[in-house]
Amino acid sequence: MKRASLLVCAALLSAHTLTAHHSFDAEFDRTKPVTLTGSVTRVDWGNPHIWVFLDVKDDTGKVANWGVEGGAPNALFRNGWRKDSLKVGDTVTVEGSKAKDGSLRANANRVTLPDGRRVFAGSSGGDK
């Protein structure tokens, strides 16, 4: 835990945010929050943002495949994320904002992992 404590301190003191390279508002609507729980079907670890795809079942049992945008991979890596932090088949919950075009796309702000930990996913929502 000593290492963890050091990392928390470093995170507090360090400078580079996880935030996006272009305006959040160009793509997403911060007034349309969405929470998605589903099974990971694909993880695209690449620039300028990682994308995670989930099969999400609605109240009627119908399944839709959502794509959610996370932070830049280098920034996520520096913050402890790894390419396999989310695996195909994991059940996760994503909290974020819907895309403005109404597609099955969202920007991920928080991700709750299978073990219950709720972590930041690199959203630019607070950094207009």
Partner: protein, 260 residues
């Protein structure tokens, strides 16, 4: 270790310090650095600006929450119209950074990704992780290149005033915005930056924009950067996974025709 770092992230969340600042990771064998030691010197005796710096993130140069901000931007009529007419969603002229085109000097300096400076007696080189871009600043006394076509970052030359390096940049194409929120600039812009290494671990930086098409007078942003000796720049191939563009949420860039 991953678990610990993620636990650390939760700790940050609990403290309400979002957006989370990114911790760097110590490279294997990296030596401890005395950040209060005197500034290192180049072969010519001038201070070296070399290092990875925590270039201040400024999504909005007028944001009063970030020290060194600009209180009020002195728009010209053109600048005001261009500012008020900018709509991130409508993507005036397409969002050039969403197209993975160059961010230009100010948005690279003030972006969310780290900056490394490489420096010798004749050149200062800025390496931007954002889009894996570089920018060369000759400091050997050469003038600007005659008739060089304008470009995203423009062309820079550097000169010394005592121990302060002054970098002037001109010949900018005018397609870039000052910051993420979209403050305007034109092809008439001249950027003047100063770099002063206060000690081994601290660099004072100023960014002055002189742009008579967009602003009635020059304005300056001031920063103090800390050395980040444990951060290593990584590749950033912007278009490899640019789904926002591939899927049409970001429109193709169209160069504006009124920036000269």
């Amino acid at each position: 270790m991953k678990a610990f770092v993620l636990a650390g992230t939760i700790g940050l969340l609990a403290l309400g310090l979002l957006p989370v600042r990114v911790t760097s990771q110590r490279a294997a064998g990296a030596a401890a650095v005395n950040t209060t030691a005197p500034a290192p010197r180049l072969a010519n005796g001038k201070p070296s600006m070399a290092g990875v710096w925590d270039n201040t993130r400024r999504a909005d140069v007028t944001n009063p929450a970030i020290p060194g901000f600009v209180k009020e931007l002195p728009y010209t009529a053109w600048g005001k119209a261009r500012w008020e007419g900018y709509d991130a969603f409508m993507q005036t002229n397409g969002d050039y950074v969403g197209n993975c085109l160059p961010f230009g000097m100010s948005r690279s300096i003030y972006g969310p990704h780290p900056l490394q400076i490489v420096h010798d007696s004749d050149h200062l080189v800025m390496l931007f992780e954002q889009n894996s871009m570089f920018h060369l600043v000759p400091t050997d006394g050469r003038p600007f290149t005659k008739d060089l076509p304008a470009s995203w970052f423009g062309e820079s030359v550097g000169r010394w005033d005592g121990d302060t390096l002054i970098v002037d940049t001109v010949n900018i194409n005018g397609f870039t915005r000052v910051d993420t929120i979209g403050h305007p600039m034109s092809a008439r812009a001249r950027i003047t930056q100063t770099f002063k290494r206060v000690n081994f671990g601290t660099l004072e930086h100023t960014f002055t924009l002189t742009d008579p098409k967009a602003y009635t007078s020059p304005w300056t942003v001031k920063d103090t950067w800390a050395l980040e000796p444990e951060t290593k720049l990584l590749e950033y191939a912007c278009m490899e996974n640019n789904r926002a563009f591939y899927e049409g949420r970001i429109k193709p860039f169209v160069p504006p025709d009124d920036v000269d």
